[in-house]
């Protein structure tokens, strides 16, 4: 449940950012972010909120892992 997904920010309007994960787009809140977020940054997203900035290469590494974990979870649910 505490999984946080790294996502690329592609648009920002006030405290709402649009993120892109594997082509899927979502609006998330930047309310909890301690630092300024810019377009192109990668952020960790949990339950609709960005909680931390991460470096691009870290984001790419973790995404492949998270994909595996999510697949494992889906197999289990199906």
């Amino acid at each position: 449940m505490c999984l946080a997904i790294p996502s690329r920010v592609i648009r920002i309007k006030d405290m709402i950012a649009t993120i892109d994960v594997y082509g899927a787009r979502r609006d998330i809140s930047l309310l909890l972010m301690p630092d300024e977020v810019e377009i192109g940054d990668y952020v960790l997203v949990h339950a609709g909120f960005a909680i931390q900035k991460v470096q691009e290469e870290v984001a790419r590494e973790s995404l492949s892992l998270i994909k595996q974990v999510l697949e494992a979870t889906e197999e289990e649910l199906s």
Partner: protein, 354 residues
């Protein structure tokens, strides 16, 4: 990675006795199986799963209360999907929904808030489960509800915090672990300071660890280095994400809205100050203060070892129900329901391979 495995072997040889470590977080439990970490480790290292699966530690009474809330006329109960199949005394949220309760799965508490905006004549209640990774998001949603003047949004908070649970585990004296693999994402929020007592008061090494195979092995290596040299400190392996101070803004928002209260953990009982309830000035958002509900004490299913598994006293295969009366398709205890529960992870990765 081989270099790290070799170093782990050297360290365990130099320590000269078996070492028991606890991975606190359910996401680590899954990652450890997924990466086959146990097969890479020398036999002297035993990894035990801890109480870090929010779904698993939600008490039966809290599940029953959520079901009771969902039955109230004019209420839409919203929840993270993981909670749907958790058994209460008699049934789960999933079964309550089949019987007519309006229960909706949301990905974010903000989705529940949107639902409240669209359904002003209903009470939208969010079943607020989860650790410190999640509670700031719920606090942020209540903040948003206030800004937008959405008065029909409520929460039923069963949020829990990780450090008090670790303290309670150590105080119980039942748990024999020498070091903790601390959660990566909870620590992204709270940083390392709230764990300081593990080292200072209990002399237990602990390392905040990331989730890929290299991260986990390095975290284990760092714990063994501390044990071998007689040190006890809180260290961070997951430095690319976790900072010592955590995310101060998220912590401030969480603390603005929530205050600690005693909470009942499934299998572990009441742990002082380990829950979060809304502070007095936000009590109008707390469904417990709006609706009077009397829900009887929950009873743990007979023979279910979930409690001992969450404490690291038993491993899932020690339970008489495991894989027989209790399977992921028909779970008896919560540890088998959540994909991050130890029993579900053992069932999927261990029992099947044997």
């Amino acid at each position: 990675m081989q270099r790290v495995v070799n170093k782990i072997r050297e360290l365990i040889d130099s320590i000269g006795r078996p070492v028991r470590l606890m991975e606190v977080c359910g996401t680590h439990t899954v990652a450890i199986f997924r990466h086959g970490i146990r097969n890479l480790l020398p036999s002297g290292i035993k990894l035990l799963s801890g109480p870090g699966c929010p779904v698993c530690v939600t008490s039966i009474r809290d599940v029953e209360t959520a079901i009771a809330i969902s039955r109230i006329k004019g209420v839409i109960l919203t929840t993270f999907g993981d909670m749907m199949r958790v058994p209460g005394n008699h049934k789960s949220l999933s079964e309550a929904k089949a019987e007519g309760s309006d229960i909706r799965i949301v990905y974010s508490p903000l989705d529940a808030l949107k639902l409240a905006e669209k359904n002003r004549d209903k009470k939208i209640v969010f079943f607020a489960t989860g650790f410190e990774t999640t509670s700031p998001s719920v606090a942020g949603t209540i903040m948003q509800a206030g800004k937008e003047g959405i008065d029909n949004f409520y929460i039923y908070s069963v949020h829990k915090t990780v450090p008090p649970a670790l303290r309670a585990l150590l105080n119980s004296g039942e748990v024999k672990v020498e070091g903790f693999i601390l959660p990566g994402h909870v620590s992204t929020i709270i940083g390392t300071r709230p764990y300081g007592f593990l080292a200072s008061a209990y002399g237990k090494p602990s390392v905040v660890t990331g989730f890929d195979a290299g991260d986990i092995l390095t975290g284990i290596m760092m714990l063994l280095e501390q044990i071998a040299s007689g040190r006890a400190e809180v260290e961070i392996q997951y430095t690319k994400v976790v900072k010592e101070e955590g995310n101060p803004k998220a912590v401030a928002i969480m603390n603005e809205y929530f205050e600690p209260e005693d909470a009942v953990w499934r299998g572990l009982g009441t742990i002082p100050g380990s829950g979060l309830k809304l502070r007095e000035n936000f009590r109008q958002r707390d469904i417990r203060s709006v609706i009077d509900l009397v829900v009887p004490e929950g009873k743990e299913p007979k023979a279910c070892s979930c409690g001992d598994v969450l404490k690291g006293i038993k491993i899932p295969t020690d339970c008489v129900l495991f894989g027989k009366a209790c399977t992921p398709e028909k779970p008896v205890g919560a540890c088998m329901v959540s994909s991050e529960g130890s029993c579900a992870a053992y069932y999927k990765y261990e029992a099947i391979s044997k």
